[in-house]
């Protein structure tokens, strides 16, 4: 599961009632009548879709098997389903283990053909020739299965796969996690950190954020030298936060509105931005800064960035092997230099703070649909 998930209680409090109810309805159909079905929970990276899966697992108790996919899933035919030879029945005492979250000893007695929760189904494909075989096999098998299959998908991988493989046709229930407003972001923060939050202070308009800032434009000089020419640049994030200042007297309201704008309503990004913004146990609207970067990427780097955003966590060795004709290492270096991704061993993931800047850049290029 993702580390930056938001508790379901927090999602409910944050106004995700419809999404929670959709999942609950599908699970209730299975528990009451044994009705199967295919559910897809879709969200941006860091938007907390695993919390919805965990909620479904808690309702199913030990009737469901939880399977977390990783990049190697693209090699096979997809995870086992109830009825498959290699499927491990969680209600079997000898094989039951702690893979199922919130498992209890109540025993599973649902009348259906079984339930399985598959997280991160976007790992079932790779963007290469013959890279859809595992996905196609999985979709074929869930179409024939009577089990309840609850899956989660990255929103951008889903859009791509829906265009090129009609993946949406295989899921009768699709739950897309929406973006949060300022109040919902506030609820998520309180749900995540508890009631003891840092003091919210008013650092003063002029002191905390300038309406117009001076940036420097480098001008090349002979012998490889350059000089930075200062030029005025409007601070759009701060100017945008004024729009609510007249209506809301509370500094907290300004803080959460700015947090929403910077995070684009993504709870995981909001939490990461909050972490970055706390200074000495205090936080102010002016401390919440939008991520900025020069995202002038070549095609290879842009495609790698697309892969990182769509897959969320990429094994760079695997990508290099699949794209032998592309300079993957050089492209990765470009992304690292621009602070867009983090590298942990061979695993590459998008930085939460950089997510929406990167998405905007890829949308302008036409790479994200």
């Amino acid at each position: 599961m993702e580390n930056d998930t938001v508790p379901v209680a927090g999602l409910r409090a944050a106004g995700f009632g419809d999404e929670v109810e959709n999942v609950a309805t599908a699970v209730a159909g299975y528990l009451d009548d044994g009705a199967g079905g295919n559910v897809a929970v879709i969200s941006e990276p860091y938007a907390g879709r695993d919390s919805l899966l965990a909620y479904a697992a808690s309702l199913l108790e030990e009737d469901a098997t939880w399977i977390d996919l990783d990049p190697s899933a693209a090699d096979g035919t997809g995870p086992p389903l109830p009825g498959d030879e290699d499927y491990v029945d969680p209600t079997d005492d000898e094989t039951s283990d702690d893979e199922t979250p919130d498992a209890t000893d109540d025993g599973g007695d649902a009348p259906g053909a079984g339930a399985v929760i598959v997280a991160n189904c976007h790992y079932l494909f790779e963007r290469r020739i013959d890279g859809f075989e595992a996905l196609d096999a999985f979709l074929d098998r869930i179409a024939l299965s009577d089990a309840l299959v609850i899956t989660s998908w990255n929103r951008y991988a889903w859009s791509y796969l829906d265009a090129v493989r009609d993946v949406g046709d295989s899921f009768t229930t699709q739950v897309e996690i929406p973006r949060l407003d300022a109040d919902e972001i506030s609820a998520v923060i309180e749900g995540h950190y508890g009631p003891d939050l840092p003091d919210v202070i008013d650092a003063g308009r002029a002191g905390r954020v300038k309406t117009v800032v001076f940036d420097r434009h480098p001008v090349a000089l002979p012998r490889g030298r350059s000089v930075g020419i200062p030029y005025p640049k409007p601070n759009t994030a701060w100017v945008a936060s004024w729009s609510i200042a007249g209506d809301e007297e509370s500094v907290e309201a300004v803080l959460y509105e700015k947090l929403r704008r910077v995070s684009n309503g993504n709870p995981g990004v909001a939490i990461a931005t909050w972490d970055e913004s706390v200074r000495d146990g205090e936080i102010a609207p002016g401390y919440v800064e939008a991520f900025t970067a020069d995202i002038d990427l070549d095609t290879d780097a842009a495609v790698l960035l697309w892969t990182v955003i769509s897959m969320e966590r990429v094994d760079i060795d695997r990508v290099a092997a699949a794209w032998s004709d592309r300079p993957v290492e050089t492209s990765l270096q470009h992304l690292v230099e621009r602070d867009l991704v983090t590298v942990d061993g061979s695993a590459v993931s998008i930085r939460p703070e950089a997510l929406h800047v990167a998405i905007g850049a890829l949308e302008r290029r036409g790479l994200l649909w």
Binding site: R128, I129, D130, G131, Y160, T299, V303, W369
Partner: protein, 273 residues
Amino acid sequence: MVIALQSNAAGTQFTVENLVNAVVVVVVAYVLARVLSLVLSTLADRLARQRFRVMFLIPVVKFVIYAGAAYLVLAFLFELTQTQLIAFAGLFGAALGLGLKDLLADVVGGIVLVLEQPFQVGDKVTLDEYYGEVVDIGVRSTTLVTPDDTLVAVPNFVLFDKAVANANTSDAEMLVVVEFYVDPAADVGRAVDIVEDALVTSPYVYVSEATPATVTVADDLYYRTLRGKAYVHDLRSEVAFKSDVSERVLDAFDSEGIQSPKVPASADETAGE
């Protein structure tokens, strides 16, 4: 100092000062048109796929500036009366007969281009025998950049007597066709799968319900033709898309043993003779 070269009762002033002013107006109009074109082009490039929302303004702005300059010169500087305008038109007509016919046809073609907009700056078009991206629509000619990076100035009167093919009609997306030929004995089903995968996994492709990627097969006596059709998200990627898809498909064909058509024996014999 004003030196009257010619004047009449209506007050037309063909003075040196007016002539100099007219030249200044024309030069300023030219510079202004170039600067605004450059500004709009730069702005359009920043908008990437949305650049067509700005590109269409370039010829309109240029024509407005030139028309304004002409009006300024004729109506305000030389203060031509209606009679003089008719006389001017007569002289102009005579000039046409003496060889300016094509130039006028080009100018009228340019006006029609601005009004009808059969294509815009940024579109991929075939004009006369040339195919390329429109980079400028001028008063006299339209400039294309061919896939070989050659600038071609096509006279605007071509619009009147030749067909104009526009590949993208001011959308960033454009349909691109990539063809492959395989031996009739090859596994065509597998070849189709490979071409389809190569199309939809290209970094340049754009697929939606309205712009699907498809592969068709045509049978011939000595070969089978696979035509892969898909949209690129930016028409400037046309050549890169074709190259990317072709390279990966041919690699896959090699590794899967899907062979190119063989030269028929009869053709060999004919060549030998």
